[in-house]
């Protein structure tokens, strides 16, 4: 408690002192006009003048050269302040679970703004559109695109587009027209405004904001479909917003009289151009990035930089061509993620992920703090009860109406209808944020006499949605949730049953094929596999991409290692170049799950108090239903789900292998597989693995493995290389076998050995369907 208050006081004092210093420093000196370069702060103060030098006699040992460092200093200072604010906000987790972080940051912004205002008597630092759109927004959107769950996104693309395009147009039109109607009716008093300006205002206030949505949905965990709907909508509606904004802006400039059908048609065409053009620019840059990472093997240390630079360039390029910049950078991130993750070194990928999060989080913090600060500026405040209240009412009500209407239509075509609760959450979660503020601040004061009114209204709308709706979202969701029967403590049997049922359902889903055979999807998949991967991915990345492959890779490594140890002891292996050669590497073999781990853990567990419930709680496999693929601004996903999946996979493969062997050899756990040249021993120390297996029922035919194995050789490569060696067997009693030989890094020992891991399934197994 004391620590918290200390930090808080420290923060404010620190800031106040700095500001004082800055202010005093800048008050002296001649005017030098506004800053030529945009800084984080749009300072209205004049720069401190330079000329001190001439009248001093002698050398100055230390000089105070504020003007020298002013711009970068202020920028760095503000970033620091934003970071410290975030730290202060995160001190108390109870608070952040009730009030979303974004709201708290805005409050801090108010406080800081108050301090500055108190010191300066004017708001020296505000969120200017330039800074916002060029320096703060791109990384947030790039982060969204890069971490986007692609499958989910594209499978719901239709619905997302409907909400983004039609929904936003609906919102814009209704809000604009509604306000206009009320103005005509006199509810707003006497303001100098027209229909077109209302429509423009409607279009900029209509758009759901991605930054705000993420910030609030972090706290409220909703199901993934709902999440992707709102999130996707918030990203894609930029296409519409940009067009509407520009069109109405142009109309206002033209004046009402000039608008005729031609202009309207041009407006509609511009929508398509802007939207598709922006996406196309993004996709082109994604291709560039993927191609580039394909060739950066020798400069791995700066690989991550390319991603950010090219992402930013895609944003700027689209902006330059007056296309939708947000769409561009989103699609850049979406399209390139798969290829760059495959092409780049693991460390580079990690770097990219972390840096992306740092930048996005940092930007978001700064945005919200400045949204708060910008409010404390009496110069922009114009209060018009009617306008403001009506705006709030309309965006709220029309959002609900729009969502329900569109969902009603969509549900006729969707297999899985969106439920009532989902719709409520979606409507309620339509938050407006900084994008709206940025757009409104860009308006020209001469054309829009009521700009300040609009700015004030926008700010109030943003605060209302982010803070009020943000705070009440969670309780609303909890309240709407259907009350279950009182939860009694489940017995062990019931817990096990529940989990079994979950797994069963997942299995049945997989067997019955949840995703239908969609012709287009299959075609795209084939096209992508054949051409795009060949073009955009490194050859080595292509081969190691296969998931099953990786698993076998690890299985093989372990077995290969143990075999090598055995073979070394017996000196049985001769070096052989022209047949099957496997080169081992000893470094870097850390299978993510050690199959023999339980033996090592024995001692650790013995002393603990035994509690069956606790064990079940901790160690039951969670199953796919509970692996939630959650996009999160502030957390990078841990690998627990992956580990679990890999572990299960390995066990299943092992047990199938065992039962296959015992079926084939007619001998229970058969340890020897005779091959052409070498023997192999597979010591199985697993924990009495599944003796049950349907694969046991396979009637063993008499052909042993000997002589049925045709091997192909892949020339060993130098350096880092990982590829597959496929050994196709001829049909052995109706059971096709596939053997994967993984050829990894060349080792000095030059031992050759044969490793046969018969894998189950037909040849499709390797395709990783």
């Amino acid at each position: 408690m004391a620590c918290r208050t200390c930090l808080w006081l420290l923060g404010t004092t620190f800031f106040t002192c700095t500001v004082r210093l800055v202010v005093e420093g800048t008050e002296v000196g001649a005017t030098q006009g506004s800053h030529p370069e945009p800084g984080v702060v749009g300072s209205n103060h004049s720069q401190a003048g330079g000329g001190h030098g001439s009248s001093i006699s002698g050398i100055q040992i230390v000089t105070f050269k504020w003007h020298h460092v002013e711009a970068p200093y202020l920028i760095a200072l503000w970033i620091l302040v934003a970071g410290v604010s975030k730290m202060v906000v995160e001190l108390n987790h109870n608070l952040t679970s009730v009030i979303p972080e974004s709201a708290l940051l805005i409050i801090i912004g108010w406080i800081l703004g108050g301090i500055i205002y108190g010191a300066d008597k004017m708001q020296t630092f505000t969120l200017t559109p330039t800074v916002f759109f060029f320096y703060l927004l791109p990384q947030v959107i790039l982060d969204a695109g890069y971490f986007m769950p692609n499958k989910l996104f594209f499978s719901n693309m239709g619905a997302i587009l409907v909400y983004a395009v039609i929904g936003t147009c609906w919102n814009a039109a209704t809000v604009g027209l509604g306000l206009w109607g009320c103005w005509l009716g006199g509810a707003m008093g006497d303001i100098d405004i027209g229909l077109l300006q209302f429509l423009l205002f409607g279009s900029l206030i209509a758009a759901v904001d991605p930054v705000a949505v993420i910030a609030v949905f972090e706290e409220v965990h909703v199901n993934e479909v709902l999440f992707i709907m709102v999130f996707g909508e918030s990203l894609l509606n930029d296409g519409v917003t940009v067009v509407l904004f520009n069109v109405f802006d142009a109309f206002v400039s033209l004046g009402g009289a000039e608008i005729d059908a031609v202009e309207i048609i041009k407006g509609i065409i511009s929508f398509f151009v802007v939207a598709f053009g922006g996406s196309l620019v993004g996709i082109i840059f994604a291709l560039l990035i993927s191609l580039l990472t394909r060739c950066t093997k020798n400069i791995q240390i700066i690989e991550p930089g390319f991603i950010f630079i090219l992402g930013y360039l895609s944003y700027l390029t689209a902006e330059m061509l007056s296309l939708s910049a947000i769409l561009s950078i989103v699609f850049c991130g979406i399209c390139c993620q798969k290829y760059i993750n495959a092409n780049m070194d693991e460390r580079s990928v990690t770097t990219v992920r972390y840096v992306m999060k740092v930048l996005a989080n940092g930007s978001e913090t700064i945005i919200f703090v400045f949204l708060g600060i910008s409010a404390i500026d009496p110069a922009v405040w114009v209060w018009n009860t009617g306008f403001i209240l009506l705006t709030l009412l309309f965006i709220f009500v029309f959002r609900f109406i729009g969502v329900f209407l569109l969902t009603w239509i969509l549900n006729k075509y969707r297999l899985v209808p969106l439920e009532f609760i989902d719709q409520v959450v979606m409507s309620y979660g339509g938050l407006r944020g900084a994008v709206a503020y940025g757009l409104v601040a860009m308006l020209d004061e001469n054309k829009f006499k009521e700009k300040n009114l609009m700015v004030s209204t926008t700010l109030i709308v943003v605060y209302f949605t982010v803070m009020l709706q943000g705070i009440t979202m969670k309780p609303l969701v909890t309240w709407l949730k259907v009350k279950r029967a009182a939860v009694t403590e489940l017995t062990l049997a019931e817990k096990i049953q529940n989990r079994t049922f979950d797994h069963m359902l997942v299995a049945i889903e997989d067997i019955s094929g949840q995703i239908g055979h969609n012709y287009m999807r299959d075609k795209w998949h084939n096209f992508e596999e054949r051409w795009l991967c060949w073009f955009l991915m490194k050859p080595s990345a292509r081969k190691s991409r296969d998931y099953i492959f990786n698993i076998f890779h690890q299985l093989n490594l372990k077995d290969a290692m143990s075999y090598v140890k055995e073979v070394r002891a017996t000196h049985k292996v001769r070096e052989s170049h022209d047949n099957l050669i496997l080169y081992l590497q000893t470094q870097d073999i850390v299978p993510s799950v050690c199959l023999d781990m339980h033996e090592q853990d024995l001692t650790m567990r013995e002393s603990e108090d035994f509690n069956a419930h606790h064990l079940l709680q901790q160690h039951l496999y969670r199953g796919r239903k509970q692996h939630r693929h959650r996009y999160s601004r502030s957390h990078l996903e841990t690998n627990r789900d992956e580990n679990e999946v890999q572990e299960i996979f390995q066990r299943t493969m092992r047990s199938r292998l065992e039962s296959f062997k015992s079926a084939k050899m007619g001998v229970a756990p058969a340890k020897k597989i005779q091959t052409k040249h070498q023997k192999k021993d597979k010591p199985q120390k697993v924990r009495g693995e599944g003796t049950f297996s349907p694969f046991l029922h396979v009637r063993p035919h008499s052909h042993p493995l000997i002589g049925n194995v045709m091997c192909m050789l892949i020339k060993p490569f130098r350096g880092r290389f990982s590829s597959a060696l496929f050994i196709q067997s001829s049909k052995c009693g109706g059971v096709k076998m596939e053997c994967h030989l993984v050829n990894i890094q060349k080792q000095k020992s030059r031992l050759g050995l044969l490793l046969l891991i018969p894998a189950f399934g037909t040849s499709t197994f390797k395709k990783g369907k």
């Binding site: 439920e419 997989d510 496999y621």
Partner: protein, 211 residues
């Protein structure tokens, strides 16, 4: 719906199948497509390897057991009828079905669902889940870190709690003493058996999770 009819005509005894399982023609067609997709060699029968080719099943702890459940004892292949019959267990329950004791229990009733689940545990089909069988299931569902002793303790306690007639095994009657709602979990929730459409996603009710 021309394609539906043409596909339906390819399936023998499809009327009887629909009657027995309660699937609609669209469902049957969809399942037939899936069956054919799994049956790579077009033999008209599925073998364990065909199921094994679904690699997502390999990531399921009880995946192999489920595969086994499709195969009747002694049978090595599954034809389309058995395939559909097994999947029919997971259809939603007909709430409006009149309780007629003379008619056989439909495939998707609560009891049938529970029976299906029971058979997963009870491999030797003696009507009871013995301690060894329970151990096997637990083994496959718990992480590798859990030791053998711990597993055995859990199994012992589970049987203790559930076993009412003290025969050190869980019979079907004891197994089914669950709240009726729980059996309903064995219902495929949305869309898997529905006709092919543009979207195939599952939705769960919105739930606010605690962090």
């Amino acid at each position: 719906m021309g394609s539906t009819n043409s596909t339906l005509s390819k399936i023998p005894n499809v009327e009887e199948l629909m009657q027995e399982t309660g699937f609609t023609p669209a469902h049957i067609v969809r399942l037939y497509d899936r069956f054919e997709a799994l049956d790579k060699e077009k033999t008209g029968h599925l073998r364990p390897q065909d199921f094994g080719a679904i690699n997502r099943l390999a990531m399921n702890p009880i995946g192999d057991r489920i595969i086994g459940a499709f195969f009747s004892p002694g049978q090595e292949t599954v034809d389309f009828h058995s395939f559909v019959r097994t999947l029919a267990h997971f259809r939603p329950v007909d709430k409006k079905r009149p309780k007629d004791p003379s008619m056989p229990e439909p495939v998707n009733s609560r009891t049938s669902k529970l029976k299906f689940a029971f058979q997963l545990y009870d491999q030797d089909k003696d009507g009871k889940i013995s301690r060894a069988e329970l151990l096997q299931v637990l083994r496959s569902m718990l992480e590798m870190q859990v030791t053998e002793e711990q597993l055995e303790s859990i199994a012992d306690r589970t049987i203790q709690e559930a076993d009412l007639d003290k025969d050190d095994a869980i019979s079907f009657e004891e197994f089914r003493k669950v709240p009726p709602a729980r059996a309903l979990r064995l219902t495929y929730q949305h869309g898997a058996f529905a006709a092919q459409g543009t979207q195939n996603t599952k939705t769960c009710k919105v739930h606010a999770h605690r962090k």
